[in-house]
């Protein structure tokens, strides 16, 4: 089972800065194991963020995003107390969704 995404969202004057760390191996599909076999790619393909239930951004990633992905962006018009939902799906179909409140 996957670990929760760590989300920090801080409200500014008329926007909120969101930083998050997802927990995922993000295996590139380029590496080989000790016996020389390629380790299959395993990575988060899609990320979506909702503010109070309304989608504000989505992202599609390839295996070149680093292990335990970091993401930072800014939501306009968000204020303290707003609810943030961060979801991801990986290329094996595993998914996870986490919530945080903007501080």
């Amino acid at each position: 089972m996957s670990e929760p995404t760590r989300i920090r969202a801080q409200a500014g004057a008329d926007k909120a800065t969101v930083r998050m760390l997802m927990t995922h191996e993000m295996e590139s599909g380029q590496r080989k194991d000790a016996s020389g076999k390629v380790i299959p790619a395993w990575f988060i393909r899609e990320v979506s963020v909702q503010l109070n239930g309304k989608p504000v951004m989505t992202a599609q990633w390839g295996p070149a995003v680093s292990k335990n992905p970091f993401l930072q962006f800014t939501i306009k018009g968000a204020k303290a107390g707003d609810k943030l939902t961060v979801s991801w799906v990986d290329n094996r179909g595993d998914r996870r969704s986490d919530e945080a409140t903007i501080a």
């Binding site: 504000v56 599609q60 995003v65």
Partner: protein, 155 residues
């Protein structure tokens, strides 16, 4: 009357034909998602743009790329892409000399600023690109060379 079995087999064959001809929408091909697999497998900027149905990118001072001059660890290279322009549809981060060029694609709505920071893996020293795809069809980019001391893909 054709049986239900016949009909099912028939539609499956047609779907296969359509898929082979590239006629099925991206959504249907990627198992119910809009993941643009072809773009993430492309080896050149031109192929990435073709896979996304975009035109040739032009260099622009309005797009900003943030990346270190030298990355000691290619497995974790902080990269930021942003633009001050309005009407952005997507922001892309690409690494020229990676096995596949496109690393990340962010779909922008009016609710977020067209500015994203993340961390990517880099196989070797390379140009890193920030691309802004505008809603009017323009494709703008900025690039920066990042020297990598230790590669992050095969290591």
């Amino acid at each position: 009357m054709p049986s239900r079995r016949d009909l099912l087999g028939h539609s499956a064959r047609i779907a296969t034909l359509l898929a082979a001809a590239g006629l099925l929408p991206e959504r249907a091909r990627a198992q119910g998602s809009s993941y643009p697999s072809a773009a993430f497998e492309a080896k050149t900027m031109a192929d990435v743009m073709k896979a996304l149905g975009a035109g040739a990118p032009t260099e622009s001072k309005d797009v900003t790329i943030t990346a270190p001059d030298i990355a000691e660890n290619g497995a974790v290279v902080p990269v930021g892409a942003s633009t001050g322009l309005a009407g952005v549809r997507r922001i892309l981060i690409l690494v020229e000399k990676n096995p596949a060029m496109l690393s990340a694609m962010f779909n922008v709505t009016d609710a977020v600023e067209p500015s994203f920071s993340t961390r990517v893996k880099m196989d070797q020293s390379s140009n890193v690109y920030a691309v802004a795809m505008m809603s009017d069809g323009r494709v703008l980019f900025a690039h920066k060379e990042v020297r990598v001391t230790l590669g992050g893909c095969a290591g």
